[in-house]
Symmetry: C4
Subunit: 482 residues, 4 copies
């Protein structure tokens, strides 16, 4: 039972305690291991760090990462009260005030007609930090933009005079039923946008009959997320493999035990991408508070530190030396779950994946967040279909990145994809309206997919054929803002 004064004594790099949710922790030894760097912890040395900690760490993070000897026990009641009072009396930042207003002005959910409407609401109600983390992408945002634009170069050859009164958009993914050929692709830090975070997606996916892929970097614990759904509901796990095989194995054992149904090994983000919007985010909020931009003073000593923002911290300990020869056999030894390679970005690697005998590949450039000018996934899919159609017989192929409409999904299916993942749209939906937002966008996609299938003359997903899409040689104008 600690007092605030006692904690406050431990406020330096060589002796650093912090308070999180009314408990005291000695993080002195951990400072150097913290993926986000020691600086951000030292900002709270000897003080309460809960507000900064919560949205980006799952509840079991302390348990998993800090030896129990460093869990120093609870604050005294009066200290806890004092922390609560401070939190309550704290002056809100300009960004927090803005968010409060934006939440009050959200339109009724029934007025959300499409995923762009949902994103528009979400971008307004998100904190600047969250909005920057979610929307940021590599370098100049060329790739993230082109991922979406690429779909617009594929037009349909719709078939008429085919019976579509009954139309079934369902499919199976790795043998698991999905109400529509869509899944929630792995995306980290959902709590940045909503207190319930990934659990919103888990519940919404259950309600609508689709499958969620859970990121290693989820801000809810893997247990929380899967336990929010009934046992019958399948979930997939997106593995960021730790450089330390033992740590990685532990993670796999955990999720297998929890009941996750497949492993999506992430290969498109072994190092942090250059996400400038994310890195710049603290400066923006600083300047906003200050009321004017910070200026340069000649002679100023600049830290030579490289800066990789939130994303960099998340994957700081990941394995940068994955190989086909070593990593796949290792993973096969670890688990009997189906294995999917997430992040294949060219035809050659799709072929290697098929040769390696994995169960599926997810064509993805990580939502344009990693290597700028990585070819858009729908373009990779198109090349794969044309150059190596045999690959589709050997494993399941998925894509993610830039999907906004039911027609985008159908284009991918025509070209041979089994299903299509969406990442940011689920983050935005849960940020804007929680679980109801998640349900809403799946309903929207289902309606759009049904409309599209009927318009194409397809009564089931197996009626969707490559000859129904044509890659045109012109560039349509961007969507009209109605």
């Amino acid at each position: 039972m600690w007092s605030l004064d006692q904690v406050a004594l431990h406020n330096k790099p060589t002796d650093c305690w912090v308070i999180i949710k009314d408990h005291v922790y000695d993080v002195t030894d951990f400072l150097q291991e913290h993926p986000g760097g020691s600086k951000i912890i030292l900002k709270y040395a000897g003080r309460d760090a809960t507000t900064a900690y919560e949205p980006i760490h799952p509840p079991d993070a302390l348990e998993k990462n800090l030896p129990s000897s460093k869990h120093l026990g609870p604050l005294s009641a009066s200290a806890a009260q004092s922390v609560a009072n401070d939190q309550h009396n704290r002056k809100k930042t300009k960004d927090e005030l803005r968010v409060e207003q934006a939440l009050l002005q959200r339109p009724p959910l029934v007025r959300i007609m499409n995923l762009a409407d949902m994103e528009e609401v979400a971008r307004k109600v998100l904190s600047h930090k969250a909005e920057a983390y979610y929307s940021s992408a590599a370098d100049d945002h060329i790739t993230v933009t082109e991922n979406a634009r690429a779909f617009s170069r594929f037009f349909f050859h719709p078939r008429v005079m085919r019976p579509v009164g009954k139309c079934d958009p369902s499919t199976t993914i790795l043998g698991f039923k999905s109400s529509i050929p869509v899944f929630a692709s792995g995306a980290a830090l959902a709590k940045l946008g909503h207190p319930l975070g990934e659990v919103n997606i888990s519940k919404g996916a259950t309600t609508t009959g689709i499958i969620q892929m859970v990121s290693s970097n989820a801000s809810a614990s893997y247990a929380e997320i899967i336990q929010a759904a009934p046992p019958s509901q399948p979930l997939f796990f997106q593995l960021y493999k730790n450089a330390d095989d033992a740590v990685a194995e532990k993670r796999i054992r955990e999720v297998e035990q929890l009941g996750y149904k497949a492993i999506f090994l992430t290969v498109d983000a072994v190092i942090p991408g250059n996400r400038e919007k994310d890195v710049k985010s603290p400066w923006v909020t600083e300047d906003l508070e200050r009321g004017s931009p910070k200026v340069h003073v000649d002679g100023e000593v600049e830290g030579g530190d490289t800066v990789f923002g939130t994303a960099g911290a998340l994957i700081a300990h990941d394995d940068r030396d994955l190989t086909w020869e070593k990593t796949i056999p290792w993973l096969r030894r670890m688990t009997r779950l189906p294995i999917v390679i997430k992040g294949v970005q060219c035809v050659e690697d799709a072929v290697l994946a098929a040769e390696a005998g994995v169960d599926g590949i997810l064509l993805s450039n990580h939502g344009g967040r990693q290597l700028e000018y990585s070819l858009p996934p729908i373009e990779v899919l198109y090349r794969l279909r044309k150059q190596r159609p045999d690959v589709f017989d050997k494993l399941e192929v998925y894509i993610d990145g830039g999907v906004q409409r039911g027609t985008d999904v159908l284009k991918a299916l025509c070209l041979g994809a089994t299903a299509v993942g969406l990442g940011r749209p689920f983050l935005y939906a849960q940020s804007a309206y929680g679980e109801a937002g998640v349900v809403k966008i799946v309903q929207i996609l289902e309606r759009e997919i049904l409309t599209g299938m009927r318009g194409l003359g397809a009564a089931s997903v197996k009626d969707l054929k490559p000859e129904m899409v044509e890659r045109v040689d012109w560039e349509p104008l961007p969507r009209a803002k109605l």
Copy 2:
């Protein structure tokens, strides 16, 4: 002879009367069948519904759809007067006031130089609901925009030193003479834009010697429309086939008897498209009246209803299971009129239509209102010309969608089209200036077609050849606003 008080007693779902044009109707049993849903009728339960009813129902709709036992007879004179007074004293909405001003500010008709000028006027004088219904298209309006843009990729190889002093732009469509190779394509609900609706088009087409195709969903009755023209004037009928063959047969018999000269079977709109602008339209006018947008309240219970707007209502009972094998032979048994398939969207189906022995095909994606990313009709025509030129010898080929200029018409004719349909331009023209507007746009098109033919060195439509157009590999800038 009913009093308003008597009618007012029947104001619930289980007992619902409404007043339309001073007559009382019991619509209790009809509520469930109403294609537009029961909600919109119940809004007027026990009250006068005329203003909402008139612009979207033909005058014979009650007769055709409500058993005569439910026609309860007229209002008393004082009740009718009271309804009239209410209507007269009713406070106008902001949108109505805007429209009144816009009507006063229309430019003189002589200043309408082209179809874009006409559309500009119409968009100003239309109610928001009408403008939204007319201009709305699928999803993000990509297809509607690309339909028009596609023409701009076709350039001419004009021929010089050919005698064009005498130049005849006339042609025949299904054997019927047309002053120019243009027809009014089927388009619903003309009364939303002008009290006389489709009759304006009928009269204007007669004056200018072109042919009108009348929609099953016209807001004037099929009889009214054809009777506004002399017996010598041919009209075509655009059939939306009811799922119930008997109902469909009745409709065909009616129009055949009235003297319509051909059946255009609609195959590109068996289900409603996703027309968001149309669906959103009531919210826009609501918010305009309210002066601020409606906001979300947490816990709000949202209806799970799918929303398909005006268009959805119009085709709610249509046949979604049309097939080449079943529907064409059935239609041939029903009628000896020429049959055209409206809504062919790819080369394969054009070939099937030719094999099915129909008289014509209208390459159309329903003005971009149905399946987003359906290839623009001029592009389908171009592919048909290149891949299957034989089809042009077996049936007549028409296109519609995106036509704005005489040069657009000529490009289609060079590629083998017999004639070109326009839909929205006729709705806009009659909305802006009634019948005179219709006449004006045909005159404009005739002038533009004549100028174009002479510029191409063509003295008659048969001089227009495929080698006169080249599909270029660049994208011209959009039209200059002069």
Copy 3:
């Protein structure tokens, strides 16, 4: 010697006199023949018409078109004085006041760096009518815009390490020396922009050593124009052939006698193009004076007249039935001057021209003023080079349309053109600064051509080769406004 009162009596269609430059003319019989229509003359019936007459008629127009019996003689001195007073006291229009200000604010000529700078000044100092007539083009100005844009798809393969210290940009056109491979292409009504009109061009061309092609529709007389230059200066004549061969012959005899050196037969403008900006021009100035736009009154009776603006009037009597078989032999019989066909727009007609044995062809779509979507001349030239390189051995090939920079000229020369014509730039230059403006743009072009030739490694025009240009498959961004 007429008084104003006497003239004023003749103010009706059946008896119509007008005053022009203090002389009285009876134009009653001429009303029906006037290419610009009777309406515009009747506006001045019984009154002075000089201001409207002068900028669009050459001084010898009355002499050529009105029998001498209708030349009724001069006004009395007091009447002439009265006309002058009226003119002097006349309230200036808003457009005239705007032009006066704009003239005062012209930048010094030394600051005109390029043809776009010159056009910018000209567009400001021109009356609305003149600006509309000069800049107007067919339909939506697609073609006029694409004419210029097309050049930007041609990039250079510059050669280095070639001696370019001495560099000669001169060439010959039909055997006549030209200081640079550029000529002033025929363009009508230069007086709309400057009182001296085409004479400015004639003098400027002489000063700079290039050749002027004079339009049949020049606003200065053919004699004035050629006599402004020394006998050694060659001029070409752009023939609009009258439908009446005798009238056409008279025109040819006149210019041959005056010393014009070649006949450019216009075949791309046998009928008026649809130039909406030109047609709308009077309404714009009307509304400007009125202070508000004119509005439509229901029931208004609209004239059914087709409207073809200034251009329509100029060519009302021209021959619409030119043919290779008839017209070329006729022209050869009429004259021994070299014959060039102006307005060839496709490869097929270039071949026909070569077979017809003419001396040259000018690939031109009339500056985009006639048939919208006529292929840009540089594109036609490119196709001609690829498909029929033999044509370049049989006649000289020129292009005009969209030329703005020395590099544009060089691209055409690389592809085989002998020289390049510019139309509007000369109109703009003389409008902005008179003869000095004409000299200036030739100096600019010469400097740009020299810079370009040296950059390409070409010491003379014969070093410019097809392999030095590549038609790229992308679309450069438009020019930066510096």
Copy 4:
């Protein structure tokens, strides 16, 4: 020891003295030789010219160009004081005041995330003249813009599952080690942007381990620049060859003696380009001071002088008659240093260079500053790779122009380039923050290159392969402004 009054007597073309850094010079005879023209010197005749002189002349310019007899000796102390007072009391121009403010408002260097951020700062802190000189390019800035845009048409085929934990971006250029495959390309007049000019680049390059190519037209002396770096640091010399072989030889001897390690012979700028922004620059600052634009007065006599701005002056005496046959052998005789041809712009000349036996070629269109519509270097490189891959075995290939990101560098390396040059970015960086700015952009590029190599699955530059880039057939949208 001169007084100001004495100097002031010599203030005319026939007797012209100027003061520079408190010394007096007789420049009468030199007036005609001055590459920038006599006019600019005469502006300071009899007066102090230091401020205008310093940023565009290396300190040894007077020594090299003016016989010692014309060095008339120092000012008297009181005269020097008076000049200093005048300079101190001088009223600052509006442009100078703007720059002062801009310098105070620079963001901290740590906030500069990329080269575009750096350019943005620089453009604000540069004088208008400097900004115009640095950013100006030929004609309409098409080429400079397309140089950069061209990179965006090259997308990656990234390889996954390759070990990239260790990743080495270093390479060698002409045998000299470079920490990353990037060098500072020759660019003149760095002192226009910062008092230390090229020395900033020399020092920054040393710190970061890259190589600087020094322009013949540097504003610091060749000695100053190389002596700012340690002897172990290699520097290259960009030779503008004087038309006079003896002068050229002297220059080569000088730099060889100073220790420069290679000669880059400039062949893409033998004459000045048409850089309008540079030429217009004085007018812009004049008008800014005046507060209104200068206007034209009719009759004004305009100088017929051609205008070539700053760039024109710099190369006025250069050799315009370079040839493969003559110049390369001459240069081989002059020096044993490696020879690189800077400014090859097409495949044919790359082949000729290989045949001429030079050590390297720099594909460059002089940053778009010379011939408008010269193909972008990355496009030339792409064609060279496809058409003549053998050339890469015979010499080293570099490109410069439009490079902004690490991915740009990697695209060039995949296609076979040894290294990539940047010109303007170094000028901007040193203008904004001096040497620290130079270091910063190299650090940024290194980080981006490392991120890109790892994203591509490349652990060293030799893992970058042609099959990793695809030239796509669409045009990505421009970079998002985050």
